[in-house]
Structures are given as C-alpha cells and as structure tokens.
Symmetry: C2
C-alpha cells in the first residue's frame, strides 16, 4: 500500500501540513523539523500521489502537443519523432509526461485544445507549425493555457518562442548553387500559411538578391509529395526553365526529383535539387539528395524546458535562438548545365 503524508506525519510526530511544507521546500517549518520529515519520508519510501497533488494544486504535470498534420505527412517527416524524443528528455527531469493528440479533421484542432483544458489534462502546450494569423494564439489566451511557440508568430503573441534562423540554411543552399554556376534557381515553397513556409521563401529571395539574381521562379505547394510534383511541373514548363530547385522539405524534393527524371531530365545534370530536413531515406535516393539538416531533438528539449520554466513562474523576456540548419551536400546538386 502506498505511503501517504499522513503516514509520514505520524512517524515524524508532526502535522500533515508540516510534512507538506517540508516536502515542497516551503517556509513554515524549522530546519531541524524539515530534516526529520525528509528523512522519515525517505525511510518510509514515500512517493507523491500525482493524482492527489493534481487535485489539490490544480495541475496536470503534463505538457500537450496537438499535431494537426495529416498522418501520411508525419510518416515521412523526420522532425516530429526527434522533436518528441527531445521533449521527453526535458520532461523526464521533471516527472512530467507528454500528452499527444493528432487532430486532422476540420475543427478538430480547436476542439482538441478545448478538451485538454476542460479535462485539466495539460499545464501548457507546445505550438508547432505556427501559421500566419494563427488562431491558436487567441484561443490559448481565452483558455488561459500557457504555451511556447516554435518560431515567433507574425501576430502579437505573449508566449515565449524558440526559433531557428532558417535563413542561414536556405542561404547556404542557394549560395552552394550559385557557386555551382546556377543563375535560375527556383523555390518550391511549403504552405505559405505557415511561418516556416514564408521564412524559407523569404530566405530564398534574400539569398538570390544578395547574389544579384532574380527571384521570379517560385511555385507554392503544401509540403506534400503531390504538391511538390505539381509545383515542379509548373516550374519545368517555363520557357526559362530553372536549372536548380530549392524545395521547402525533403518529400517535395524527392517527388519533384522523381518527376523531373520521369520527364527525361538528368539530376543533377539538367536540374539540381535541394531539400530540407535531412530525412533518413534521402541519402538513399538516386541520386542522394542535397538537403538541410536541423536538430529537432534539441528544439524539442529546449521548447519543453522553456515552457516548464514558464509554468514554474519564470518569465522569459527573449526568444530562444537555436543553431541554423546545416547544408548536407550530396549528389543531387551539381554544376549548372551550359
């Protein structure tokens, strides 16, 4: 049977209240009494009942992650597993758990957040895939649910943000292509409703501007393979066909590369291709994909830590910046065709 603080109080000869103060580092007991209580609790093998703690302190000791992506996209995205693993490393140090929800149906995301709050399931949430004018920010304010966002939202947000400077990664990819002699470097963007979709495009534009090149070869897509094929088809139909394409994620790069090859184009002879995320399978493509590698595990760990600090009462005044993506050069990029 579980040892309760009543057992500890009895054995230590003090009240339950004193035990609670001692065990939680609260003032109100003398140092001697505190030591005695802590020793008795340890000797008896006392462990807090998180259920009881939760009820009296109105806390869940859990963080929430609501993923609103289609599962088929998640299955090819190396980001989330590593991100979640990173979150876990932070949570394990605090006896918190991760409550995961996948909410892809229309309206499911909002219903999911409301349910988490109504049921007191989580103390805070980690917001990934931040969108322009993200409706989750006002929703979470209404629900009084603390949050941390991945990247700084475009609209005003009171929540701390953990950011990666994606510009440097895309800049490096574009520079690599410019060095290889490319002058028509296109970009197949992810969903432009996402902050990260926009920032990758902006970085592509800025890098081309720095190289004195036009940024008029842009096609929007939605991070899906089908979207990547359609965008690639659009770009390759142009009279001034690009000699290189910078894709906003690996799946689109994979599908786009495959599509170009199906047209008889050689990669990288006729068209160079870069991706984003360094998915495990990309090194085994034919040819292996040049891509950008991020550190999602670190991102997950830091995000969880920032949110836990927030919940503990610390107020983060500045966004946390993580290292930029690293360019991984493989065989999908080569000299521009003559």
């Amino acid at each position: 049977m579980a040892v309760t603080i009543s057992d500890v109080a009895l054995a230590a000869g003090v009240s339950k209240g004193a035990v609670s103060y001692a065990l939680n580092g609260q003032p109100g007991v003398s140092p001697d009494t505190r030591d005695r209580i802590l020793r008795v609790a340890k000797d008896l093998g006392w462990k807090p009942s998180l259920r009881a703690k939760g009820l009296s302190s109105a806390k869940a000791y859990a963080l929430g992650l609501v993923v609103a992506r289609d599962p088929s996209l998640l299955g090819t995205d190396p980001f989330f597993p590593a991100f979640i693993a990173g979150i876990e490393t932070a949570l394990a140090e605090h006896d918190y758990t991760l409550v995961l929800s996948v909410a892809t149906a229309p309206g499911a995301e909002e219903r999911c957040y409301r349910k988490l709050v109504d049921n007191g399931r989580v103390d805070g949430v980690i917001l990934t895939d931040v969108r322009r004018g993200d409706s989750r920010i006002p929703l979470l304010l209404e629900l009084k649910l603390p949050a941390v966002t991945l990247n700084r939202p475009d609209a005003s947000s009171p929540f701390p943000a953990v950011s990666v400077d994606e510009s440097a990664g895309i800049f490096a990819a574009v520079e690599h292509l410019v060095t290889l002699g490319h002058r028509r470097i296109a970009h197949v963007g992810g969903g432009q409703e996402y902050i990260h979709g926009r920032s990758r495009r902006q970085a592509w534009e800025d890098a081309l501007a720095a190289a004195g090149l036009p940024s008029d070869h842009f096609a929007a897509a939605d991070f899906t393979a089908a979207g990547g094929v359609a965008a690639t088809a659009e770009l390759l139909r142009r009279a001034d066909r690009p000699t290189a394409i910078v894709y906003a994620n690996d799946l689109m790069a994979t599908a786009g590369q495959s599509y170009a090859q199906s047209l008889g184009l050689s990669v990288p002879g006729d068209l160079s291709v870069t991706g984003y995320d360094n998915a495990e399978f990309t090194q085994y493509l034919n040819p292996p994909l040049t891509t950008l590698a991020t550190d999602p595990m670190l991102w997950g760990r830091v995000s969880a830590q920032v949110l836990l600090n927030q919940l503990a009462g610390a107020h983060q005044s500045e966004d946390t910046a993580l290292p930029a993506p690293r360019l991984v050069i493989r065989a999908s990029t080569g000299p521009a065709p003559d």
Copy 2:
C-alpha cells in the same frame, strides 16, 4: 467557476451520493430522481473534474504508448503516425488521452513503464514491436498494468492481441515475383528479435516452399538503412546472386535498391525489389517501389478499443485479426533476367 456535484445536489435537492449514482448510471436512485438530476446537471453545465474522478476512482483516463525505437527510424516509418491517429479516434470517444513516451536509452523502456505506473499516469498500455521473449509481458504483470499487444507474443501472455496476418502479404509479394519468373528470391529480414521480423521471414520461407523454391538467400538486418545496405551487399556478393529481394521494410528496400544501383545493377532489370509499409516517399523513388500496404490507422483504432474494453471489464477471449497487407505493384519489380 466550475460546477461541482455539490452544486447539482443542492439544485436537485438530493445528496452528492445520489448525484454520483445518477451521473454514472449506477443503481441506487429512482428513475424519476435520476432524470431530475441529469436535467439539473445539464442545465447547470456540470462537467466532471477528471482530476477528482481520477483520485477517487484511482484511474488516469489515459492509455500509454512507450516507443523504444530510435527517433531516426520513426521518421521514415509511416506506421506510427497513422497508428497514433487511429488510437486517437478510439480515445476521443471515451474522453481518454494518449500519453506518449520515447524511450531509446538502455533500460529506459523499463524505467518508463515503472514511472507511468508509479505516477498513476495510465490505465493501460499498447505494446508495439513485440519481441521474442518480450520482457515487457512479465514486467506489466508485475506492475499490474493492463495491456494489448500488437501480434500474439511467442511466450505466454494474458493480454489480448490484435494481429495482422503478415503471411498473406509476403506470400503475395513472393508469388508476384515467382510469376515474373524469379527463382532466386532473397529476403532481408528486420530484427529477428521482433515477432514481426520473424513472421515476415517465415512467410517468405513458406511462400518459397509452396513454389518449390529454396529459401537459402536470407540476410538478417535491423530495419535500418545501413543494415539494409549491409545485408544487400552480402546477398549480392553470392555467386548465386538473387534476382529479387523481399525486404522487411521500405527503408531497407530503399537503401538496398540504391546500393544495388551504385554497383551498376539495374532495378528491376537485374534485381527486383519489394518493401513493406508503403511509405509515402516510396512511390517517388527511382524506380518507384513495389511494397506492401497495411492499415496502421485501423490497427491503432482497434488496439485502443480492445484495451478500453478490457479496462471496462470485458474479457476478450480471442485475438482480433485485421486484414492482411495489400501488395502495391510499382516499377521496382519486373521479369527475372535471363
């Protein structure tokens, strides 16, 4: 402020106990009184406090999933996202949540289960990646934690199992290759410590036996790309080189295919290749991969339902069988070379 059952009791003119019986469908209140209580509760907008319910009923209203795979493997496996999405569809109907842990460090898996139990975090767990002599079965018995297993473990297990007959899928892949004229059909197995690793191999052997062909072209791997390359290299070094390889998962097939191509072999001209799982990216490989498609979302949903039924007191006497994988024929398989 939240409406409690005390508020409902006061407004309905009955005791808290009567309210609890009425709201939980328990006997002990007359039909008239029950109706009145239910109406008052609804009018007042009463919602149960899961924290309070949890404390008094010793339940967490959550299911646990501990994933002991390396995150990089998860990022290329379409199984888990869809599986988790399927779990969610069942949980949503019961106001349960999913507590997810990723535990890859040595010993972390066991520590994770113990912590979930110590903290009363979950009412039951779903066991994926069942292994031969899986130590989790006795562990969960010791911890008195209900579970459902994916596939029937080889050792005695009191937990209900949800199974897919993988034989039919692998059988179909081998038959497809036999029909194409292949006589030396190899198998690159996943981790043979896993039940599903063994059963895929067994199915390959059985299908070859049925076709009157020898099953001596086997190489063990570990579901990783590097493992797939090494196993492929071993097989391709044989004097009696196989003309086709059935891989236990898509990542190994992708890497193996790529490796064979790097040796100057043509796929499928010199070597036909099949995978398993139908990952999104496989249709964009060069050539697109022939593979087996399962329904992980259904698997997730059914598994969660079986476990929830178990927790509700129902005792499942038979394992639940799900449909066999479906062969998806693409361009990585073709006629055997002369």
